[in-house]
Amino acid sequence: MIKTTGLEFAYPGTAAIRFPDVDIAQGAVLLLRGPSGSGKSTWLALVAALVRPGAGSLEVAGQNLVALNRVQADAWRARTLGFLPQKLHMSAALTVAQNLGMAFWAAGAAQDRRRIDAALAAVGVTELADRLPAQLSGGQAQRVALARAVLMQPLVIAADEPTASLDDDAAREALHLLQSSAQRRGATLVIATHDARVGDFFAGPSAAATGHVQTLRLPRLQGPEVAV
């Protein structure tokens, strides 16, 4: 499902980051771990086809990402990858339903209100559809952001530090939602985190249903912070 070999990436004027090889199956969970600045963001950007590797091969969901041009990469990302950012980035000008609709707009697809409602229902926040983001609690906002990430029925769901700034109960609930959302669709789940609770969750009994869990540990890089 995600297969990388000899993957390297270099920001202009810095030494290349070398990533360990990865080979995980469809429906598996990949925990991307490592301290700040270890290249987690860069690895996510590579897997999302936002940047091209300097060297190595990179295949996601059967697609060789190195072969895609920018336009093809955008189109591929729109239908293959669901993304849950650390900062949820919901447009204050739009209602919850309209924020979800942005995914259709971004993909150049027609708006489908039934799918929006279904995605909201799947994370248990149907009643929030017509609210503005400012009216949501932190937990509600994260559910909405997750609904947006899975709206296009992606094969890969990537979450960036989903438990940062959450207390233990909320963190467990967030991970459970992510896990069940991925499982329902048979999607591969990639979680970038430096939170030990994430590892505990996927090692513990609540994750018994989860398939294969793999951890990719990235070492601290030498020199100054490079990932933006």
Binding site: W76, A78, Q86, L94
Partner: protein, 400 residues
């Protein structure tokens, strides 16, 4: 939701800033609309009132004054000319028609013009009520005069001396209204027309002391000027020169004088146009600042849209669409405001009976207004759109 819908929502997520930008743009556009309307109406008024008059012959003095007083009825005439001299023009082989114009009196500031029936015919006037005059002291009213003064056929009034209200009333000589002209949308609407002989009669009745005196006056009858139409355009080469050198009168070509007048007005409108340009530039800058800060505020949103698969071009177009909305709204507001300025000018200066017709006019020149609006707003949006195009997705992924 399509891009235009999305842009609309983004625009009104900052209502104050957007409304101010629309207003700023609209003020510049309104100034331009207003200038275009005034220029168009003045030009049209001149063209309309010239009505095929090739040359005006009158007392020596300023040729512009002759045209302004004799054709547009805006100024006082330079003086009078002998009736015999004007009659002599009719015998000139280059001349097709001579229409005498006698000025001197007014009623409630509306000029009483002594002339012949050829004058209303020149403008293709038709009667709304009554008939044309058949004898001295009968008058036909222009449409505006009849409406404003509430006069109609069968009513009488006494003119006053001079061309403005408040002169000495010619108490003994009352005019009788016999007809009212239909509106022609020109100078005729604000004139009171009568036979040339009426003007003589009023003044001779008023001034003559005895029959001998009157007879002397009849000998020396004058008119104010004559509107002349040529038999052939070639007459323009020699006729004015002949009048200017061989008679005690001057010939003024309306087309020439009006061109000079429009040129002088043009110098004034250039200043206003520069001012409007400055307003538009300010508005453009303001739009730029608003969109630029919008891109900065929404960096995360834009990066997320990229993450969701939106191509950079679609994100840049989102910004341009916001500018497009600003341009469209400002165009509508600017055109409307410009028309309101125009109507206000006409109303407050009372010009509706002179040069400007007021009201809503949509000359094709106004197409420049939306074009300018879109040019300004889209140009202002180019750099922000480029910023949006280049929005950095990696920033979104920062896990620090």
């Amino acid at each position: 939701m399509n891009t235009l819908g999305l842009a609309w929502r983004y625009l009104w997520s900052r209502p104050l800033s957007s409304a101010l930008n629309v207003l700023l743009l609209a003020l510049g556009l309104a100034s331009i609309t207003f200038l275009l309307l005034v220029a168009k109406q003045v030009e049209r008024a001149f063209q309309r009132d010239l009505a095929g008059i090739d040359v005006v012959v009158g007392a020596k003095g300023s040729p512009m004054q002759l045209i302004l007083s004799g054709i547009l009825h805006l100024d006082v005439p330079p003086g009078n000319v002998p009736l015999s001299a004007v009659n002599a023009l009719k015998t000139n082989p280059l001349v097709a028609e001579v229409i005498p114009i006698s000025l001197g009196d007014n009623y409630q500031a509306y000029r009483i013009v002594g002339t012949t029936l050829a004058y209303p015919r020149l403008y293709g006037a038709t009667l709304a009520q009554g008939r044309l005059w058949e004898a001295p002291m009968q008058v036909v009213l222009g449409a505006t005069v009849a409406r404003t003064l509430g006069l109609g056929p069968g009513q009488h009034f006494v003119g006053s001396h001079g061309l403005a209200a408040g002169g000495h009333a010619h108490g003994d000589s009352a005019y009788t209204v016999v007809g009212v002209l239909a509106p022609v949308g020109g100078v005729l609407d604000r004139l009171i027309l009568t036979d040339t002989a009426s003007v003589w009669k009023v003044h001779e009745d008023y001034t003559a002391e005895d029959a001998q005196d009157r007879a002397a006056m009849e000998e020396e009858r004058e008119v104010t000027m004559a509107l002349v139409r040529y038999r052939s355009p070639l007459a323009a080469m020699s006729f004015p020169r002949w009048v200017n050198t061989s008679t005690e009168m001057q010939a003024a070509a309306p087309a020439l004088e009006v061109t000079r007048l429009l040129h002088m007005l043009g110098l004034g409108t250039d200043v206003l146009r520069a001012f409007a340009g400055l307003l538009l530039l300010t508005a453009g800058l303001s739009v730029f600042i608003a969109l630029w800060s919008a891109v900065r505020e929404r960096r995360g949103d834009l990066a997320l849209l990229r993450m969701l698969g939106a191509p950079p071009a679609r994100i840049a177009f989102l910004l341009l669409a916001e500018a497009l909305w600003l341009g469209v709204l400002a165009s509508a507001a600017g055109l409307l405001l410009g028309q309101i300025f125009m109507a206000a000018l006409v109303f407050f200066l009372g010009l509706d009976s002179a040069l400007l017709t007021g009201g809503l006019h949509w000359p094709s020149e106004l197409a420049v207004v939306p074009a300018l609006a879109l040019a300004v707003s889209l140009t202002a949006a180019l750099l922000p759109a480029w910023g949006a195009y280049r929005s950095d997705v990696l920033q979104l992924l920062q896990t620090k």
